[in-house]
């Protein structure tokens, strides 16, 4: 028993030195337009990909212009084919800086939120 326990604990210690496989809340993985990027032409849709599957009922994206007015066309939704992706359609955006706020509820019941901006270049 004691020897087995000691062996098991050494095994445990050895295992935690193994490569990290991290599982946690849903965080932003990448977005289109990319975080902080300047895009030459106005995107029709904002896509955000997350590190985990989302609960559609409590996840949303908001896109606003400099004055804080919403520039979205409709409401945001989780992609039915890829639960890690959330999209929102955008109105025709003039040149300027836009703020994206996201609120994500992961299937593990944890909520995360964040914001970033992107710019549409003047033509």
């Amino acid at each position: 028993m004691t020897m087995r326990t000691i062996t098991a604990f050494f095994l445990l210690v050895a295992m935690v030195f193994a490569p990290a496989a991290v599982r946690a809340h849903a965080f932003l993985d990448h977005s289109d337009p990319a975080v902080g990027s300047t895009v030459p032409s106005a995107p029709a849709t904002m896509h955000i990909w997350f590190t985990q599957e989302l609960e559609p009922a409590f996840s949303w994206i908001q896109v606003t212009d400099k004055s804080g007015a919403s520039v979205s066309d409709g409401t945001s939704g989780v992609d039915p084919d890829n639960k890690q992706e959330m999209d929102i359609k955008l109105k025709s955006l003039p040149a300027g800086t836009y703020t994206v706020k996201w609120h994500a509820l992961s299937v593990d019941t944890h909520t995360t939120q964040g914001d970033f901006t992107f710019q549409v270049k003047g033509s």
Binding site: M1, T2, T5, A8, F9, L11, L12, M15, V16, F17, A18, P19, A20, A21, V22, R23, A24, H25, A26, F27, L28, D29, H30, D32, P33, A34, V35, G36, S37, T38, V39, P40, S41, P43, T51, Q52, E53, E55, P56, A57, F58, T97, T99, L105, S106, V107, D108, T109, H110, T111, T112, Q113, G114, D115, F116, T117, F118, Q119, K121
Partner: protein, 620 residues
């Protein structure tokens, strides 16, 4: 404070970090009640009934025990229902962002119950409480063992379904992901069987010791021996599945030592070890005597009392373990909180034990990408040039007056340092006291921007020595950047997910002939998995399908990788981790790569193993 351009283009993200005492204590209650339900049925089916089967005369003892076990099961079921309902309301409140009272009313509960994984799990578990109640009522009336086994099945499902109420519900693209849910379920079942059956064992031993008849002592002896078999198999299962879960959730030594999640997990393991120690005393010291004591009632009674005492200690330790489980499930696991390294040294595979700092294992909150590098450049110019020099070679105007020469920030050695250590030096200064700390001048995000700029410039400098032969040795990474190609938005990192890339940089006149050659070749290159991205470092009107549209910050960043003497064009071959594996210049000895070289090099670069990308950029 100086103005900082593009300050707002940073990505910020955050999760709830505070421990909610109401939620964690509700979870503790629910876990404990669920474990007791499973454990009571386990005790009936696997310990009490087989023990009584061999000593049918102990009828009165059996009746007294059953009465208490039924009371225990009903109370546990009631607590499980109430705490489960409480858990649901708290989760609904957290999910909707509404206060508890509002979450109770209206449609929030309905949406949570019908539209979330947690809610659906809770509906199933509510059904299981009904099944358990029916089994308990039927069993009390009929004393049927078959009903008891159905009850055990329902109670086990009730405990196992807790796996979908937390971190186990999520799937991620990690190796052996399919193992996580089964490991989680087995862990819950084993913990429920062992911890949950401890209290029934204690109750049983109290009754048996009170009885003092030789039949009672005999039953106690058999039950204790059977419990030790159950305990051993549960402990074995807990260790194996615990190792699997630790690997999935904590993931690394810094995460174990340096985050609240990891520290609580270590405390849980320590408490578990203490429980095993106490169980070990039973196993090694008491049980051998018990086996021999079949004919000696007083010895048997004495031993049973000691087993009773030890089981009580184990049960108390078990409550602490469950309290940790209650807290730990609502914390972000592992590396998603920055691990604060507690030791002044760390172990490096190449250098052995080296000096370490609290931030050694921090990951950058700002991705190694053009926007961050463009923000870092002016910050470097304002704060670092006086000592480290405009080119980063440690030759700034003040350098000669310092007792220690400022570090040359363009040497390959720079990449041997952890970014978390550079973060510490910029914030708090170096150990020799010559370099001051900038924590009061630069925000954490700004320090990461400076680090990204310094790394990109060093990478650009070192690339000047990269030749046209594919290098499988250490290579420096090209920063990520966004671009538009044929009307679609893309980034370098997304492109590299599909295979290696050839990045063509040109300043001044576009190398029209070369771009046309590459464009013609593109179907064959694409078939070989190589993507070509051509970037004009000065705005250009040249039309070619390979030329992508980029913003000014991307041009400034990629200029670090261009050489004025390149004859008008530089081509960089990137592996899937964005590391620069080969470089050709129009003015180089062998000129630019011919089509067959590009194709064979792309195949070689594809085969170079790339370490998992540092998943930085979403902390803070």
């Amino acid at each position: 404070m100086r103005t900082r351009p593009k300050e707002t283009s940073r990505s910020r993200s955050r999760g709830a970090k505070a421990i909610d005492p109401l939620l964690s204590s509700t979870r503790l209650l629910h876990y404990a009640a669920s474990a007791l339900l499973e454990g009571t049925f386990v005790f009936w089916c696997m310990i009490a009934w087989p023990a009584f089967a061999r000593t049918p005369a102990a009828h009165a003892l059996r009746e007294r025990l059953d009465r208490r076990l039924f009371a225990l099961a009903w109370v546990s079921l009631l607590v499980a229902i109430v705490s489960g309902a409480g858990w649901l309301v708290i989760v609904a409140s957290n999910m909707s962002g509404m206060p508890l009272a509002s979450a109770l009313q209206g449609s929030v509960l309905g949406i949570v119950l019908t539209q979330t994984h947690f809610g659906i799990d809770w509906i199933v578990r509510a059904g299981l409480t009904v099944a358990i109640a029916i089994c308990l009522a039927l069993q009390a009336r009929t004393r049927s063992h078959a009903v008891g086994w159905v009850g055990l099945l329902a109670a086990s499902a009730f405990v196992a379904s807790l796996a979908w109420a937390g971190h186990g519900a999520a799937t991620e693209d990690v190796p052996f992901d399919a193992l996580h849910a089964p490991a989680d379920i087995l862990h819950l079942l084993a913990a429920g069987a062992w911890l949950g059956a401890l209290l029934p064992l204690v109750i049983f031993l109290v009754q048996a010791c009170r009885d003092m008849s030789s039949q009672a002592v005999a039953v106690a002896r058999i039950a204790t021996l059977r419990f030790s078999v159950l305990g051993l198999s549960a402990v074995g299962t807990l260790i194996v599945t615990g190792v699997v879960n630790t690997w999935f959730l904590a993931g690394s030594v810094p995460a174990l030592l340096g985050t609240l999640y990891g520290q609580l997990l270590l405390l849980k393991i320590a408490l578990f070890a203490a429980m095993i120690g106490v169980a070990g005393i039973n196993q090694r010291r008491l049980l051998p005597h018990l086996a021999d004591s079949a004919t000696d009632d007083s010895l048997c009674l004495q031993i049973s009392r000691r087993v009773f005492g030890n089981a009580t200690i184990e049960a108390c330790l078990g409550v602490f373990v469950l309290a940790i489980v209650g807290i730990i499930g609502i914390l972000p696991p592992g590396l998603h909180t920055e691990p604060r390294w507690p030791l002044p040294f760390r172990f490096s595979l190449s250098e052995g034990f080296v000096r370490a700092y609290p931030t050694s294992f921090y990951a950058s909150t700002q991705p190694y990408a053009a926007p961050s590098i463009a923000r870092g450049a002016p910050l470097y110019a304002q704060n670092c040039v006086v000592c480290h020099g405009a080119g980063g070679r440690g030759d700034g105007p003040l350098a000669g007056k310092l007792s220690v020469r400022p570090a040359n920030l363009t040497e390959p050695h720079l990449f041997a340092h952890k970014v978390g250590e550079m973060f510490w030096w910029i914030g708090h200064g170096t150990d020799n006291g010559v370099m001051p700390g900038f924590a009061d001048k630069l925000s954490p995000d700004q320090r990461w921007d400076v680090i990204n700029f310094v790394l990109a410039r060093a990478a650009g400098d070192l690339t000047q020595h990269t030749g046209s032969q594919i290098s499988t040795a250490a290579a420096v990474p090209l920063p990520d950047f966004a671009f538009e190609q044929n009307g679609a938005q893309n980034t370098l990192s997304q492109t590299l997910k599909n295979g290696p890339a050839l990045v063509v940089l040109f300043a001044g006149h576009a190398p029209r002939a070369r771009l046309e050659q590459l464009a013609k070749l593109q179907p064959r290159l694409a078939a070989a998995g190589l993507h070509v991205i051509a970037v004009a470092l000065h705005p250009s009107t040249e039309k070619n399908p390979l030329i992508v549209d980029v913003s000014q910050d991307v041009r400034e960043t990629l200029e670090l990788f261009d050489s004025p003497a390149d004859g008008g064009e530089t081509e960089l071959m990137l592996d899937r981790g964005a590391n620069i594996r080969a470089r050709w210049m129009a003015s180089g000895a062998g000129g630019l790569a011919d089509p067959s070289t590009l194709l064979s090099d792309a195949a070689r670069v594809k085969s170079i193993p790339v370490a998992a990308a540092n998943h930085a950029g979403h902390g803070g």
